[in-house]
């Protein structure tokens, strides 16, 4: 596929683009000032900073159409940007151009409690969504992230949350979308494609086009509205955890697989001792102390029930499970500590685990992938060895680190009743330490290849996903063809997913 957009953009073109955008959106909402552009050049990831040529803030779908039509006419790339929160460089423009900052599109357009849905614009965050949901006795399935990410962007990007074990990932909660395509035309998917039918979870019409917009970072179109599912919020809960006597992963993963098939938990995830400590402690020193007393691996979960009876039944089932499998309950004292910092209301409503994890060294490299229960222990051993070779901790701060190198940060969540598991390998690095940056930068690709070589896959075509594209000899060429058809000028977020 030939690149059709200007790269770099000639100044005379840029000046014309800025002028036309200002006319379309208002002077106040377009800036090509270097001060503006540098502020959009980084995200949470270790990806190198890159600036857009200019930033435009549309007010609504119509404005987005205008921007894309102008971009198309001048052959200038456009990157959509909602809340700017991304762990793999998804918010950093690959090819400069227009950064389409959607933060003025911050309204909850509709709430339908009867049908348990809400319609949101791109800048509506989970914190906001949960605030609305809570008043209705309902909730969104929030990601394991701060409350600030965009509901729309996170769901589209296959966001995973603590409740995904039971309720699935982001796209499962999308009922309908409004998309502005590469020609500035509007496409509606799902329930929005059936005028008058209401908020129903109907894919299609016919072949469901919605899938092409999932995990594609806007390369096929910019989503400006989304109808999302709300879920009941059971009011009775028990927050508890299980561990196994043996400290290796094999034992605990066996328990996890069996537990997920009991189908009694509301949320479920495996935390290692360090992660558990970070969530429960107020600072690094506290986390370091707590970690020493934490079990090595814990499966943490909530039992929930609409009534106390329902909860009691689930608890009895859990007790029988524990007896049967030889699992052990984590000491209640730890759960109380953890609950104080991260109680059910907070955990279900929002989770602050990501910023808390950043306290360790400033940031962490997140590698989220899928594999099977059988493959993970071996993968984890290989990962640990790789870390010893690459990010060997000469940093004196590491001595106090709740994540010493011999205990890699691993987070596990069963998906689809244990058919697969979502795993997060994390590497903690310091953005303010050039040595740390230098050592950590190659780790991502090295770990990615390790994962791909040993039975793991990425369901997102993020930076890691790019490395897996060559291993998909049929899928990836088809993707390229689709891109060429839907966006022949290649102006929508070029350079993503291994595409030109």
């Amino acid at each position: 596929m030939a690149e059709k957009f200007y790269d770099p953009i000639p100044e005379r073109i840029l000046d014309q683009v800025v002028a036309e955008l200002k006319q379309a959106l208002g002077d106040e909402w377009v800036s090509d000032d270097p001060v503006t552009c540098i502020c959009y050049s980084r995200d949470q990831s270790i990806v190198r900073a890159k600036k857009p040529n200019l930033v435009a803030l549309p007010a609504g779908t119509e404005d987005v159409q205008k921007v894309i039509r102008i971009a198309r006419r001048f052959q200038v790339p456009v990157q959509p940007y909602s809340t700017g929160i991304n762990s793999y460089g998804g918010c950093i423009p690959e090819k400069a151009g227009i950064l389409l900052d959607l933060r003025r599109m911050n309204r909850v357009l509709e709430v339908d409690p009867e049908n348990m849905v809400m319609r949101v614009q791109p800048f509506v965050s989970f914190g906001w969504g949960q605030c609305i949901g809570e008043k209705l006795g309902m909730r969104l399935i929030n990601p394991t992230a701060p409350p600030t990410p965009s509901i729309l962007a996170n769901f589209l990007d296959k966001g995973v949350g603590l409740s995904s074990t039971k309720y699935g990932m982001g796209p499962e909660h999308i009922l309908g979308m409004t998309i502005v395509d590469a020609e500035g035309e509007i496409i509606k998917t799902g329930c929005d494609a059936y005028p008058g039918l209401g908020h129903v979870n109907l894919p299609g019409p016919g072949p469901d086009l919605a899938g092409i917009y999932e995990a594609s970072l806007g390369v096929f179109g910019v989503c400006t509205e989304m109808v999302v599912q709300l879920y009941h919020w059971p009011r009775h809960e028990i927050f508890t955890a299980l561990t196994s006597e043996d400290e290796d992963l094999e034992g605990i993963l066996r328990i996890m697989k069996a537990l997920v098939r009991e189908d009694i938990t509301e949320e479920m995830f495996l935390f290692q001792d360090g992660y558990f400590a970070i969530g429960g402690a107020e600072n690094n020193e506290g986390a370091e102390i707590m970690r020493k007393y934490m079990p090595k691996n814990s499966i943490i979960f909530y039992l929930m029930g609409k009534t106390e009876e329902e909860l009691a039944i689930k608890k009895r089932q859990l007790d029988r499970f524990v007896e049967r499998t030889g699992a052990t309950y984590v000491k209640q004292a730890f759960m109380d500590l953890f609950n104080q910092a991260l109680d059910a209301r907070r955990c279900l409503k929002i989770t602050q685990q990501t910023p808390r994890a950043e306290r360790l060294r400033g940031s962490f490299l997140i590698m989220w992938f899928n594999t099977t229960f059988a493959e993970l222990p071996h993968l984890t051993r290989l990962y640990r060895n790789l870390l010893r070779e690459t990010v060997a901790d000469s940093d004196p701060r590491a001595a106090k680190d709740p994540f010493p190198k011999e205990s890699p940060a691993v987070y596990v969540q069963p998906m689809e009743f244990g058919r697969t598991i979502g795993v997060e390998f994390d590497v903690f690095w310091s953005p303010d330490d050039p040595e740390s940056v230098k050592r950590t930068f190659p780790v991502g690709p090295a770990v990615t290849n390790l994962i791909l070589d040993h039975g793991g896959w990425y369901e997102r075509t993020s930076r890691a996903g790019i490395l897996q594209s060559p291993r998909l000899p049929v899928w990836f060429p088809v993707l390229k063809e689709i891109k060429q058809t839907l966006d022949p000028l290649n102006i929508l977020n070029p350079g993503r997913m291994g595409l030109p």
Partner: protein, 402 residues
């Protein structure tokens, strides 16, 4: 070369490590998400909320630090101080909301903003003209607002208060520069009335009272601030008082915290809300008259987030007979800034924006059913009132109940 360029350090180097650590999580945009009750009242950053672009938020300021620092070394992202940067920097009210909400700790966006201001001064791109006038006014009249020294004591005329230029007392009532404004006279008079009624042995400095110099550090004139602050400390120390009480939240925060590391302070500084609570609890002050009203207490940034004095003013208000209190949806650490800037420096530069920010707070007051706003800062009080609010200082309400 100006004195500022003789500064021997680059202020950005003091914050560059924390600035680089910003993970762009966006928490600095909102109040504590667990406390959000209404989406409309969830924002915490006045400049971000108004101007929207990323450079107006705490997270954006971290990038500005990085961009300016790369001029010293690697040049992948060169940045210069221009009008846009100055606008993004000085529309910030320094409310501290971003720093309070930063769950990741160690990121210190507020410190980055202060460092950026110092840097702009160092590079002679600041102070901006209204701020330069404030600084000159402090140098000439010890008052950033242009009021002459005699105006500072006008409120005390006829009250026969002890004056430290000729009397001795145990407690210094430090009125602050806003005392020179006619609109604040009744607040000062109310405070004096209360202290007298409680039998507190206090005095004032009157015309001799210096500015605490807070505006200087907020503008970015750290060196001038430190020099002036040391003189203020010495002056108060010479009085031999063990306690300084002030009605000004900004002066309190300055004397109590900002003066740290500037020399020994043989005196304790308390905000009047703390002293009033003590006096009420000890029975030295008795409130007998009913005060009708339904007030929402507005937490001043310098008394609230900066020094975590949330409870004292509330407990004082709770002891006023007949007075109903309601809470803002954004209260205590979540409080929405009045928009003035803690020494009025934002209102001086961008009055329309400052007024819009205040209007948001007034709308919130109406939303929670408050008929009046109570506060404990003269800048908040005057600014919210100028925006159309029915506002009273805490001490006025207490004095009404005497």
């Amino acid at each position: 070369m100006s004195e500022f360029t003789r500064l021997s350090y680059n202020p950005l180097l003091q914050v560059h490590r924390s600035a680089l650590r910003c993970g762009k999580c966006g928490l600095c945009r909102y109040i504590d998400n667990l406390d959000i009750r209404e989406i409309e009242y969830s924002a915490i950053c006045p400049s971000g909320e108004r101007f929207k672009f990323e450079e107006y938020y705490g997270s954006g300021k971290s990038e500005l630090v990085r961009g300016l620092l790369t001029q010293l070394g690697a040049t992948t992202n060169e940045l210069e101080i221009n009008d846009r940067l100055l606008h993004a920097l000085y529309t910030c009210t320094l409310c501290g909301g971003c720093e309070k909400m930063c769950e990741a700790l160690h990121k210190y966006p507020l410190k980055s903003i202060m460092a950026l201001r110092e840097y702009c001064v160092r590079e002679e791109k600041a102070p901006l003209p209204p701020h330069r006038r404030m600084a000159d006014s402090i140098a000439e009249r010890d008052n950033p607002l242009g009021n002459p020294p005699e105006a500072r004591a006008a409120w005390a005329k006829g009250l026969r208060l002890k004056n430290f230029t000729k009397d001795k007392a145990e407690v210094l009532f430090f009125t602050g520069c806003m005392a020179a404004r006619p609109g604040q006279r009744r607040v000062m008079q109310a405070a004096a009335k209360l202290l007298k009624a409680a039998g507190v042995d206090f005095g004032i400095l009157g015309e001799a009272e210096p500015c605490c110099k807070l505006p200087l550090v907020r503008i970015g004139l750290r060196k001038s601030f430190e020099e002036g602050a040391k003189m203020v400390i010495a002056m108060i120390a010479e009085l031999g008082v063990s306690k300084v009480v002030t009605t000004c939240a900004g002066c309190f925060q300055t004397l109590d915290r900002e003066y740290d590391d500037l020399g020994e302070r043989p005196f304790e500084t308390v905000h009047i809300s703390e002293l009033l609570l003590e006096l009420l609890d000890d029975g030295a002050l008795k409130l007998k008259k009913k005060v009708k009203g339904k007030v929402a207490y507005h937490d001043p940034c310098t008394l609230g987030r900066y020094t975590e004095n949330y409870q004292n003013p509330r407990e004082v208000l709770a002891q006023i007979p007949g007075l109903q209190t309601v809470e803002f949806l954004r209260a205590k650490g979540n409080a929405w800034c009045c928009g003035a800037g803690c020494s009025g420096e934002v209102a001086a530069l961008y009055p329309d924006y400052a007024r819009e920010t205040a209007a948001i707070r007034l709308k919130e007051a109406a939303h929670v059913g408050a008929k009046q706003i109570a506060t404990a800062c003269p800048f908040c009080e005057e600014h919210l009132r100028a925006a159309g609010g029915n506002v009273k200082d805490l001490v006025e309400l207490v004095a009404e109940a005497l």
